[in-house]
Symmetry: C2
Amino acid sequence: MAATVIKKESSKQLLAALPELVAQLLAAEEEEPCPPYQGAEELTRLFDLSVPECGLDHSDLIELLRKVILATPRTATPAFVNQLYGGRLWPATLAEMLTAMLNNSMYTFKVAGLQILIEEQVIAEMLRLAGLTRGEGIFCPGGSISNLVAMLAARHFALPEARENGLHPSAPLRVYASDQAHYSITKNAGILGYGRHNVRLIPTDENGRMNTDLLAAAVAEDRRNGCFPVLVVATAGTTVLGAFDPIPEILEITQRFGLWLHVDAALGGGFLFHPEHRGRLAGVEAADSVTWNPHKMLGVPLSASVVLFARKGTLAENLSEAADYLFQEDDADLNPGLRSIQCGRRNDALKVWAAMQYLGKEGLCRRVELQLALARFAALEISKDPAFELAVPPASVTVCFRLRGADSPALAHALNEQGLAKISWASFRGQTFLRLACVNPDMTEEDLRALLRNVKYAGERQQNAH
Amino acid sequence: MAATVIKKESSKQLLAALPELVAQLLAAEEEEPCPPYQGAEELTRLFDLSVPECGLDHSDLIELLRKVILATPRTATPAFVNQLYGGRLWPATLAEMLTAMLNNSMYTFKVAGLQILIEEQVIAEMLRLAGLTRGEGIFCPGGSISNLVAMLAARHFALPEARENGLHPSAPLRVYASDQAHYSITKNAGILGYGRHNVRLIPTDENGRMNTDLLAAAVAEDRRNGCFPVLVVATAGTTVLGAFDPIPEILEITQRFGLWLHVDAALGGGFLFHPEHRGRLAGVEAADSVTWNPHKMLGVPLSASVVLFARKGTLAENLSEAADYLFQEDDADLNPGLRSIQCGRRNDALKVWAAMQYLGKEGLCRRVELQLALARFAALEISKDPAFELAVPPASVTVCFRLRGADSPALAHALNEQGLAKISWASFRGQTFLRLACVNPDMTEEDLRALLRNVKYAGERQQNAH
């Protein structure tokens, strides 16, 4: 039986294995950026994952972990363009590893100390960039939860009695978002009691931006019909097209009707680092709440998501509970547990802060330029090649395109299966296409060319197979 | 300006710094398990945390991170008994560091592959141990969110229309939990539209266990008054006393009235690893949902929390959304994003799985014994010493006691300030006392003796100061 109390010697051996495991993973990533797909059945044959009766000794554990990490899909290579995150920002990865060593829970200053100040500093910087100078914010475990907290605050703004007495609105509530908004808006509406059917998905223009005339008409219509419009979600950087809803025009409507404005900038928040490109989010400074995920464009390890509010006090109004056993030292300001939807909360701030320290304001800005340049380059290569077709001009960092004559879902599947690339497909206005995410600034133009060659290669193989 | 595209050389230098940073932190933990308290003002003087214009080069970043980790409260030492987590389980810490390298988002098999099977395996094992043999589960970011998802499912069970059409119950909903239940129950009631006032906190007996006669009376009374009782939360391992509500008696009531039974075993779930001590949770196999946090008694880094359901399909009913751009390959079974309250989701499963592999079933069981033995030993030392007074006999792994003549909150504060220990205080039935958490099985009896000596020492200093 393995010792339960792990002795220092054994812990040293485990830790000593880390550099070699990491080196081997890096070598494997270099050699095989996207290993051929292994299905669940195959992996189940290869790995006995069940809990053993007696524990493994450290060398067996290290060998097992080695096999596991080498058989895990690689998200840091240029062949991974499947999601709105990717690559590896080393200072952030290092900080995340140190976070595992420190293991502070971010509820109180007593337990997390300096890490609380680091979170505060990161949030202060994000508030400053968003122009919410009197606001507050908190790290949440992902953009869906950030959106949830924002939609909760909007509900509280409309129905301040609900938190204490329960939700029983006299009229159906209404939430508005574009038909390109993230699916968490609908999901959260189900959770928070708005009801999924009470989310009106407003049509978008040919570039995927919300049609604000239709928004205004929908709100007015709902008012006439006795419904209770509560909030509008503007998306800054949609999931598929990377499009930006026109915040100023939406703002005019939310102000006219007295609605809460939430800006879901989970993706697009990254543009706030850039003095020019931040213009895409003009108007965000008048929003009531903003979601912004540094794990997307900033490239820190999952997850790092922040919800920001225009007005200090919003989080505590919605989330604070008295808990003597926990919140017993220091100012409330230093105990963010009073403002979080979580209780125990891992430290997602250190990695963001480390990234900001390493890049500096200049580097943060340059990173955005590189991401945009990659998307522009990919779009240019695609338009130059008659085998391809751009689906829409790229609005920011995603490039949507088709290989003529090919079925995009089948093509994405084949690329994955053959170990050529992980890339997703998506649909917009009846068109289905490949969606290439250019969020990893370490990708090169050559990487993009190779990726496009692989798309063509897989397409040819597919045609020949028919 | 630091390069934005971080070159391989630089990344190697950053990574090469990790072993030395870790070694230095370990040495510091050994030398000074609880450094003297530094307040926010002092830390603000010592650290310029602001984002620089130009990025730091890697050696400056490493130096800064070194200072930061050394100035962060230490949670892995025997002087940290403040929370229901603590210590360091090395195989899990190693796995968490590899998780940062792999950076898979746990929504789809395409992106997370083998890690999805690992999460499945861990959940299957937890379901088996809880006796929920036909159930399902998912990792959530902390126990509060696990409880939230369970309370959402309970709401859906009572009011299946609410997800689509919005919550507008015809009668006030009611939630029942003991007055020792975790504060997330009340908080979640506010979020989910039950209303905080609609949570009835049922009194507990002298050992902190729910009085089930009063529970039955409360439910019957609410029924008579036209309220709508929905769910009962039984706590398996309360936050302060570590007490276990009597699940079989609660079950009798939930079955009689047709209510949902949620067992919050965030702490106490750990006992399921032990063939005898698992009896404390007898009846859990008939619960509708269970919260269980491996980051507590299992000692893996924050956060690792799982919510389990008795019936497969519960999660999707409450949380699934169609999202073509994301869920486009493989069986729904292999895409847990369809069953999560999150979208992007970090991998909290690998560290739990690594811990299970390293400890084996025997080691998991032995760990529980060690934790209980530490609590028993501390209680014995306390009862032998006339300077101390046990507040209640320890129900599991927390030991609540007082130093006679001392004010416990002031004493806890002094211990923290003087760098002697991080220990919390709590109250129960008008008594206020110190709460010593025995969840770190690497603590020795000598560590506990030293801790108690430090409590007396700080108490004497305090008396002399008056």
